[in-house]
């Protein structure tokens, strides 16, 4: 009986382990392929029927050097950076005060407000892109930085408000009251106590916003089309249309993912940092 249950237990464990390995493979394998293609020489791609090798015959960064020799590509990266940065700025400017108020005060109709915010994101992008583009065209903001930044800010705001709100909410009320008793007014309390303590959460929101804008395609495509201003995602789409070698596409994708990977690692550190530990026993 005991041996039987022990056997059942180890079978269960083995199944768990197997499912985890499979899940990880599913996630990692495409990333590996992407990276592999990005550094492949053309012989490792066009094998003429022979099986494609697991590791390129002659790993090379030629695709990258090719991309960086293209002056258009610099412009594209610059555009993506400008749009993402401005989106972060706008979202934080609008989102942080809202998050502060929603997180620290009793706001009448708070639930309805939050529901409204979240519902914006319940619509698929493809459904909301038409009215928003339509609206931006009316404002003569199509084919402008402002237009895309506006749209991306719209997409990011609910996240900024939600993440920021919980960052402000998690600060113990004692700290605020302590500061008040010590003579601090509203501004001092915000800038000296609440904001620094909410910073990790706000930084996470900012990074998230940056990434959202950085690899956003649908809105950028509708608002900018394939016009003068191009972003990395649009550039990828544009290149795809000319059926370029896979290694070039893979190289663009790698460059596109790079900030995602870097920031995700940073984000993880922030997420797990229990900065409020030690304030309140």
């Amino acid at each position: 009986m005991r041996i039987g249950s022990f056997a059942a237990e180890s079978t269960k464990k083995a199944l768990w382990a197997a499912s985890i390995v499979i899940a990880v493979l599913f996630i990692v394998a495409p990333l590996y392929l992407l990276f592999k293609y990005a550094i492949s020489d053309s012989a490792s791609i066009n094998t003429g029927g022979a099986p494609i090798p697991l590791w390129p015959f002659h790993p090379t960064f030629r695709s990258f050097t090719y991309l960086f020799s293209d002056s258009q590509f610099y412009g594209v990266i610059f555009n993506s950076l400008i749009i993402a940065s401005c989106t972060v700025g706008m979202s934080m400017l609008l989102g942080v005060p809202a998050a502060y108020v929603l997180g620290r005060f009793r706001v009448p109709g708070r639930r309805a407000l939050l529901l409204g915010l979240i519902s914006v994101r319940l619509f698929p992008d493809i459904a909301s892109v038409i009215p928003i583009t339509e609206f931006l065209i009316k404002l003569r903001l199509q084919n402008t930085y402002t237009g895309v930044i506006f749209a991306h800010t719209l997409l990011a705001l609910p996240y900024v408000i939600f993440i920021g709100m919980s960052a402000f909410e998690s600060i113990p009320g004692d700290l605020e009251q302590q500061a008040r008793v010590m003579g601090a007014g509203g501004f001092s309390i915000f800038f000296r106590v609440l904001f620094p303590l909410a910073l990790p959460g706000l930084a996470a929101a900012a990074i998230y916003t940056f990434l959202l804008s950085w690899d956003e395609f649908i809105f950028a495509y509708f608002i900018l089309g394939l016009g003068k201003i191009s972003t990395l995602t649009l550039f990828l789409k544009q290149k795809l249309a000319y059926a370029p070698p896979q290694n070039l596409l893979a190289a663009i994708s790698v460059l596109l993912s790079l900030p995602v990977i870097v920031f995700s690692l940073l984000l993880q550190k922030y997420m797990t940092a229990g900065i409020t530990a030690g304030s309140v026993k």
Binding site: P172, D174, L175, Q177, Q178, A179, R180, V181, M182, G183, A184, G185, S188, R192, V193, P196, L197, I275, T276, A277, G278, S279, V280, K281
Partner: protein, 370 residues
């Protein structure tokens, strides 16, 4: 430093009367404890004084100024929260400097006061530590230092020792007393711990359900509890209570109870005689009951009772005996631990007549204290 006057202060939260027309006058430089069980309103009262809760009715006057409508940040007082509420993103020194920086104190004064506070609270060398790297006792001292550098008119302490372990709490109590002695600030100290209240305070305000039960020195509160609540809340183990009727028998005035006739001392004979026939609740502390066989001599006012031992609990240096009279009334008393008493044993005990307290069963107030 300032005196604190509470005049008929009331506070209602929903349908709950948290503070009910409470008045206190706290002298300049006095160490006063607000003592009571959880939910008695003591912390709310402290928060009202701090300006963190509005005062519904009554006046709060600190140092001659009516404080009711002065916002918290403009009141000249400091508070230590139960949680200590140290700013987790600031070092010890930054925490201590915080209030001074906010008040735009000259840098020179700030560094002088910082050094003074670090020294006073034995925090030297910890200036650059973050709160999360401090022990509980150190956090408590930083919180205190942060409050003291502000030279508050009144220092409000909300159960500052409740997060410390027993040994640390004792040293912290001594330290707090020393600091009060050195600094001389008026201190209002909230606790549910009677030992802290008895040890440190000059006067204790006992609160129950938003009302003031008694406000007096630790000695008076212990020796002459004004109400049955004050009697039961102060002292450990808890006081014995027995219902009875005041009677005069031969030379003695006393109370006829389920355990027998309990005599009062001669000093109270006259007043007790006038109350003959009155229903009362007798209160007597376990400390004021002696095991007859080991008591040197019985005093003239002592009552002898026969009880059977039910249970003996070891408390360390002493033991608590739970005994019952013939008709089941319970009496608890203390014996030194070298005395051997077995359950079921019939024994005699003496009750100290001077330490018998009488309470009105309706109003719960002490019939001899007015």
């Amino acid at each position: 430093m300032a005196e604190v006057l509470l005049k008929a202060i009331s506070k209602r939260l929903g349908s709950n009367q948290v503070i009910d027309s409470l008045s206190l006058d706290i002298k300049n430089g006095e160490f006063v404890t607000l003592l009571g069980p959880s939910g008695c309103g003591k912390t709310t009262l402290l928060r009202m004084i701090a300006g963190l809760e509005a005062i519904d009715k009554g006046d709060l006057v600190v140092g001659g100024r009516r404080y009711n409508d002065i916002p918290s940040q403009h009141r000249k007082l400091a508070m230590v929260f139960q949680s200590y509420a140290l700013f987790p993103h600031m070092t010890v020194a930054q925490n201590i400097r915080f209030g001074l920086t906010i008040n735009k104190t000259p840098a020179e004064t700030i560094s002088r006061k910082l050094a003074w506070a670090l020294d006073l609270l034995r925090l030297a060398g910890l200036d650059d530590r973050m709160p999360r790297h401090l022990s509980g006792g150190q956090r408590q001292r930083v919180a205190l230092a942060r409050a003291l550098v502000l030279d508050p008119e009144v220092l409000l302490l909300d159960e500052p020792l409740s997060n410390l372990d027993a040994a640390l709490r004792e040293t912290a109590m001594e330290e707090l007393k020393r600091i009060h002695h050195q600094v001389g600030t008026t201190i209002l100290y909230v606790t549910h711990n009677q030992v802290e209240a008895m040890t440190m305070s000059e006067r204790i305000a006992i609160l129950n359900a938003g009302r003031l039960e008694q406000f007096d020195t630790p000695r008076v509160v212990y020796d002459a509890p004004a109400t049955r609540f004050a009697a039961s809340f102060i002292g450990s183990p808890a006081m014995n209570f027995l219902d009875g009727t005041i009677e005069v028998r031969e030379e003695d005035a006393g109370v006829d109870t389920a355990l027998g006739f309990i005599k009062l001392d001669k000093d109270r004979f006259g007043r007790a005689q006038q109350m003959t026939g009155r229903k009362v609740t007798v209160g007597i502390r376990p400390q004021n009951i002696a095991y007859a066989e080991h008591h040197e001599s019985k005093r003239y006012s002592d009552t002898t009772l026969r009880v059977s031992v039910e249970l003996v609990e070891t408390l360390g240096d002493r033991s608590l005996v739970v005994s019952r009279g013939e008709n089941g009334a319970v009496l608890r008393f203390l014996i030194t631990r070298d005395i051997e008493i077995e359950p079921q044993e019939m024994i005699e005990v003496f009750l100290d007549g001077r330490r018998v307290h009488l309470f009105d069963p309706q109003t719960n107030s002490n019939v001899f204290v007015s």
